[in-house]
């Protein structure tokens, strides 16, 4: 099985989100319901933790549905006031990402509830918030969104993990089904249909040309920033 | 939002009027219902016949035959009742009396078969013949 450790980089939405988290004792911990990123001093987005639990999952259902479900969840679990914050698994504990996310420690006592200060920290954001953000760029169709985040480094390896590029284009995050990578042949017919549907999708390297505006809820790509095709 | 709400309301109203209980069905619709009821009843009569015959030849045990015939009686009764509840179009007034009469016969006869089955009398040749005749008649009546 090709583990991510053998690859140069990976796509967060495709390879990390929604995977099963397994403790070192083979116990199932939960799903990667979201991933927390922090904005470094030098402007890089660095993954810091896997978020687990309904408070992490429900917001990913979209603004309207997710908001409604999250409100319903708070109503049901009112007794525990901190239930609106997700559980956290530090990214350093991730040992390997294959078809599951394996941790270096046994499951019991591993998860801790996110602190309120941490949730309020403006430098932190979630992958789920970035995916689906509208993208403003002259060279892309108007309905373009952030489809996925491309990351360098491999979990469990020393070295830098950070988001290096965005996959942008019209459509829905996750609808590429992994057909953006050249390694995956797929049934030719399915691959052809999905490539055609995503013919306008591009990869854009993070840098001065890309501005993430959390206030306005959009990503702006400055004219002249180079966009490369998906399978380049 | 507004046009969608209106569309849904219109669709609901149409649906409700279409399902109107007291609306007089046209002759064709009644014919179709009658044919369905007749073939249903025919199927139940034939089932009862086959169940009695198999029990007589000791090919089933009594509980099995009784359950089969009792379920056939229930289904035949439901077919007759469903049709009798439908308003008869004036063009079919005479036919309707015949059809409903035939269906009632079927219900009675399958009921008799059930009584025989409960008592363990599977070899009543007269009943078997009557079931045969009625099954034929129902099949002919249902186009």
């Amino acid at each position: 099985m090709a583990s991510l450790a053998e690859r140069e980089g990976y796509d967060v939405g495709l390879h990390l989100l929604d995977r099963q988290v397994v403790g070192a004792d083979d116990r199932l911990v939960g799903k990667v319901d979201d991933v927390e990123l922090v904005l470094d001093d030098d402007g890089a987005l660095v993954p810091t933790a896997l978020l687990v639990g309904l408070p992490a999952l429900l917001p990913r259902f979209g603004r309207r549905l997710g908001g409604g479900l999250a409100r319903a969840h708070r109503l049901v679990r009112e007794a525990a006031a901190d239930q609106e914050l997700p559980l956290v698994v530090d990214f350093d504990l991730v040992e390997d990402v294959s078809s599951e996310v394996r941790l270096s420690e046994p499951a019991p006592g591993l998860l801790h509830r996110m602190a309120h200060e941490r949730a309020a920290d403006p430098r932190r954001c979630r992958v789920g918030d970035l995916l689906g953000l509208p993208v403003r760029c002259a060279a892309l169709p108007r309905r373009s969104k952030v489809l996925d985040l491309r990351m360098t480094g491999a979990p469990g390896r020393p070295g830098e993990h950070r988001v290096v590029a965005f996959l942008v284009g019209p459509g829905r995050p996750g609808a590429l089904f992994g057909y953006d990578r050249s390694s995956e042949p797929g049934p030719a017919a399915v691959a052809a249909v999905i490539h055609w549907l995503h013919r306008h999708a591009r990869v854009v390297e993070l840098g001065d040309g890309v501005v993430i505006d959390h206030e306005a809820g959009e990503v702006r790509i400055v004219a002249g920033t180079s966009l490369s095709p998906l399978r380049g | 939002m507004r046009p969608a709400v209106v569309a849904v309301l219109v669709a609901l109203t149409l649906l409700l009027t279409a399902c109107g209980v007291v609306a007089e069905p046209d002759a064709a619709a009644w014919d179709e219902r009658a044919a369905r009821a007749l073939s249903d009843a025919g199927s139940q009569v034939a089932t009862a016949r086959l169940a009695l015959e198999s029990a007589d030849e000791e090919r089933t045990w009594s509980a099995y035959a009784t359950v089969l015939v009792a379920q056939a009686e229930e289904a035949a009764g439901k077919a007759a009742e469903d049709l009798s509840r439908v308003q008869v179009p004036t063009a079919r007034a005479d036919d309707a009396a015949d059809v409903l009469d035939l269906l009632d016969q079927a219900v009675d006869l399958v009921g008799e078969a059930r009584a025989h089955s409960v008592d363990g009398e599977y070899d009543d040749q007269a009943l078997l013949d009557a079931l045969d005749r009625l099954a034929d008649e129902l099949r002919r009546a249902a186009p």
């Binding site: 687990v52 990913r60 017919a189 399915v190 | 090919r59 289904a75």
Partner: protein, 410 residues
């Protein structure tokens, strides 16, 4: 030697496990109304379930991921959730139908009304799901389900005109009184009965539970490629029996008792007793499988511990779901709803739910991240794509056909 025995046991249980209440009722209904002119749909369905069960089994063996893990990983939380709700409803509906089927089978022996039997059946299913070991559920009930082979023997004893049966295989031999819409409706229902999604949920989750590895792929393939087609042969035998006995007399199949009647005619009391035992085992086995499948799909979507090998205390959520599903099923049946009608609806909605489950399986079966060298070959891919189209057409056609034919009555 032991390995061959394991293969044999797997094949035998796959045969017995293939047929459930949906197959029993739908095949008998179709045989009684259409003779053998819809047998080709069973063949198409069996090839389809083989293609996708093999893929999901291979994924389970190599990457230890069960079907609903894949659904969420590839469809994302939103579409995955939609799929979860749909699949749960269909599986629960099937679960209700299976429990009703067990009660109906017991009614045929005791003549006690099935409503009075339902609570006891539900308790029995609950206890088995709670206490029994996974392999014993599968093996004991699967082997008992083999009793349905009596249908094939009965067919031979009935001595039908084989030439006529064979000539009736062509769709052109559809009885003239039936419309093409009804023909298509029953075709979709038969397809749904053969390809019910829970079979794949259960099969792949079972593989993960039994810790299949790459070495087990051969055994898994033998089970799928021998067991399921032979199960399909049983389905065809049921249809052919009904065609022989019921088609000439104009009997429409509406009860489980009628499904077994051709065997009584062909083989007598003992054959009938064997078949009723088969009804019991097939429906009880399928009740356990569908019950477990509801727990599997929920637990795999949300990622909490699941499985019969995990102690109930550690997989509390999973076991609570099983318990809740059993209570709901018993409650629905106690409203007096006809289990046969629930069955008819469940096979139809199975057909509707198929694409959402089988598409992610096909995509992941091509992903070297999961399968390495065991990714789909060209044959599996060609069949997979063809079936994706077939499944989508069937799913889209199901509801319109249901309305046009008023559930096949027209």
């Amino acid at each position: 030697m032991k390995r061959y025995l394991a293969v044999l046991l797997g094949v035998l249980t796959a045969i017995g496990g293939f047929v459930d209440i949906g197959d029993l009722v739908t095949n008998a209904q179709v045989g009684a109304r259409f003779g053998t002119s819809l047998v080709w749909v069973v063949l198409v369905g069996v090839v389809g379930i083989c293609v996708f069960a093999e893929m999901s089994g291979r994924i389970a063996a190599v990457s230890h991921r069960a079907t609903f893990d894949l659904v969420r990983e590839r469809l994302g939380p939103r579409m995955g959730f939609l799929n979860l709700v749909g699949s749960m409803l269909v599986t629960l509906l099937t679960f209700i139908a299976e429990i009703g089927g067990v009660a109906l089978a017991l009614q045929l022996v005791t003549s006690v009304h099935h409503l009075l039997v339902v609570p006891f059946v539900a308790v029995a299913v609950g206890i088995v799901l709670w206490r029994a070991r996974f392999s014993s559920i599968e093996n004991v009930l699967g082997l008992m389900g083999l009793a349905l082979i009596a249908f094939a023997v009965a067919l031979w004893q009935l001595g039908p005109d084989w030439g006529e049966l064979a000539a009736g295989l062509s769709p052109a031999e559809k009885p003239g009184a039936e419309s093409w819409a009804t023909y298509a409706f029953f075709g979709v229902a038969l397809f749904g009965a053969a390809m019910t999604p829970y079979e794949v949920f259960f099969f792949s989750s079972g593989g993960v539970e039994e810790r299949w590895t790459e070495k087990d792929i051969g055994v898994m393939r033998a089970n799928v490629f021998i067991g399921f087609p032979l199960g399909g042969v049983l389905s065809v035998a049921i249809a052919a029996c009904a065609a022989t006995v019921f088609l000439p007399t104009g009997i429409a199949v509406e009860t489980l008792g009628q499904v077994g009647l051709p065997v009584a005619v062909g083989l007598g009391k003992i054959g009938l007793a064997v078949v009723v035992l088969g009804f019991f085992a097939a429906t009880f086995g399928a009740a356990c499988e569908t019950g477990l499948s509801t727990g599997y799909s929920l637990a795999q979507y949300f990622g909490f511990p699941w499985g019969k090998y995990v102690r109930p205390r550690e997989a509390a959520g999973f076991h609570i779901i099983l318990l809740a599903a059993t209570v709901v099923a018993a409650g629905v049946l106690l409203t007096g709803v006809d289990p046969i009608m629930v069955t008819e609806i469940s096979v139809l909605f199975s057909a509707i739910a198929l694409p959402l489950t089988y598409f992610p399986i096909l995509v992941v079966a091509n992903d070297p991240d999961y399968l390495g060298e065991h990714v789909n070959g060209p044959v599996a891919n060609a069949l997979g794509v063809v079936y994706l189209v077939v499944i989508t057409v069937a799913a889209l056609a199901a509801i319109p056909l249901m309305i046009v034919t008023s559930m096949g009555q027209g």
